[in-house]
Symmetry: C2
Subunit: 326 residues, 2 copies
């Protein structure tokens, strides 16, 4: 694929294509549009802009589909990126971090499509994000952190959210009668998997489910817990699909005069730093997020340097961390 072909497709001379793409001289609006249209139809990139083109080592970009603000406030990103960064650093590969949130979306997309990186680690695909859809239709190697939402198809790595939730609920089933769930946002695959794990365990034990909706925040967990106590005052255990929600739920339980774990046992999910410092310390499901980041980086890196097909999706096990809230 050369400029000559693009010129033919656009019906202009190679010189004109060169001028448009390098911005070295004025070209009329009409002609410029013809050239850009031919370029995007053919997917043409200039020599030196082609991914993997004479770039040793390659560049792998981490793209976060979240406003920068949120990205900085969620420990998942930090841990995932650290893991990936550390793996890649050992191979001399830098990991530039790019946001694909609304104000910078266009420039990030153009940068990636213009050959700015040889592979993309896609973090946090909430909903069918337009960038995820664009990249999925490209030859650029890509790996998602966490199973993408339905309708978006790309290789991913994930933790076993379903199995982790199931193990947590099975622990509660050993000593408790009525076990409620505080669920996460239903548009997040991770939240849905944790719900499924809860339902799995209850179904196998022949118990009826009892679910309230949360939003992964402490406030949401607190409200959900109040609702559950109204609905089923006799409940004696709660599984919260995230630690922040568990922390909110503990506040609601305390305000309602229930002792933890005497009256109500509670388990969270994530093992955030704060989970070890709640009163009582929170039993929770730990995700190996750094290992997940390193694994994603490894699979993507192998694909980039080999130029081959992506490896299979991989799922890492979670670990139940038993503290004093159960």
């Amino acid at each position: 694929m050369t400029m000559v072909e693009v010129a033919a497709e656009a019906g202009v001379s190679p010189a004109t294509v060169s001028r448009v793409l390098s911005g070295s001289a004025h070209v009329s609006d009409t002609t410029r549009r013809q050239v850009y249209s031919a370029v995007s139809r053919l997917g043409y990139l200039r020599r030196g802009e082609r991914p993997g083109d004479s770039r040793h080592p390659p560049i792998i970009a981490a793209v976060v589909c979240e406003p920068t603000t949120r990205m900085f406030n969620d420990p998942f990103f930090l841990r995932f990126i650290s893991g990936a960064e550390t793996y890649l650093a050992g191979r001399g590969v830098p990991l530039p971090l790019l946001s694909a949130a609304s104000p910078v979306f266009a420039s990030t997309e153009k940068h990636l499509l213009g050959g700015g990186s040889d592979g993309v680690l896609l973090v946090s695909v909430h909903g069918p994000h337009p960038l995820a859809l664009t990249l999925a239709g490209t030859r650029l190697p890509i790996r998602a952190a966490g199973r993408p939402v339905e309708g978006v198809h790309m290789p991913f790595v994930d933790v076993d959210n379903r199995g982790g939730a199931r193990a947590a609920v099975e622990l509660l089933l050993k000593t408790r009668k009525k076990i409620a769930l505080i669920a996460g946002p239903s548009d997040l695959p991770a939240a849905r998997d944790r719900l499924t794990g809860y339902l799995d365990a209850l179904a196998e034990a022949g118990r009826p489910p009892l679910v309230a909706a949360g939003d992964f925040t402490p406030r949401g967990g607190k409200n959900a817990m109040r609702l559950l106590l109204d609905q089923a005052p006799n409940l004696d255990a709660v599984f919260a699909a995230s630690d922040p929600m568990a922390i909110g739920a503990m506040m609601a339980l305390r305000q309602a005069g229930r002792r933890i774990p005497g009256d109500v046992a509670i388990i969270g999910f994530d093992d955030v730093t704060a989970a070890a410092f709640t009163d009582p310390p929170l039993t929770t499901v730990r995700q190996p997020v750094e290992r997940l980041g390193a694994l994603a980086a490894e699979l993507l890196f192998e694909q980039v340097v080999s130029g081959g097909r992506p490896a299979e999706d991989q799922i890492l096990d979670t670990e139940l961390v038993i503290r004093s809230s159960t």
Copy 2:
């Protein structure tokens, strides 16, 4: 500067230089070392790898000289980067974020020196960071966030830490007798400037200084406050060189039975989110960090596209936010 010159310098053929730099064929160890040595002596980059070389728009990288962990936990970075990102997004320029902390230092440096970006926004130059020194000796346009430590010379933008501190202390001088300072780490230019501003104001009013050392954390502020109360039980005002230290100091004051602002008035620095929610709400010095980020991005961008000399250093004013702790 072409491959022919590099070949002459290295005493090999242009073909061999090409093979080394593209990694397209095996070259003997001796020869390869000769080539690399000539390349670095001449500062040679291949066509397409040269910064600003036919890259429309250019790439500007934000480089943070901190472990990723700390970078994610300091609101200054977030606000600075958001400001820069928003400015650049309007011009179609992406802002990849790179860490220059220890595990990834080498790969980031190589990436930048190898033409990975056309300009660098250097955030948080604590001490004479090796990357800052390397980049300062390069033709790559660069702009530091905050005045660099002594011994590192590069264009920067900063807020008027000295003037902000001075204004805060002058407010206290209107109604208070004995005003103490809880200082920040003395290796940080910002902390030193705030100390200077405090000393300026006291000297002009003919009052003796009273200083305890802190480390910008709440714990450090608390310890410093206790020390100050021991040393000078009659103090009636404190200026803390950061809000987190002010928050720690407020805890110490409360534990010592002092009312705020009745017995002791207190002012912080930064206007972090929490400052509006302390009891009583904290008077503090607000830094225009987003504007600072946008300004740094603007100055750097102009330099990159013009190819000229860097613009003058710029200092933005701070703003005293008066709440109920004074």
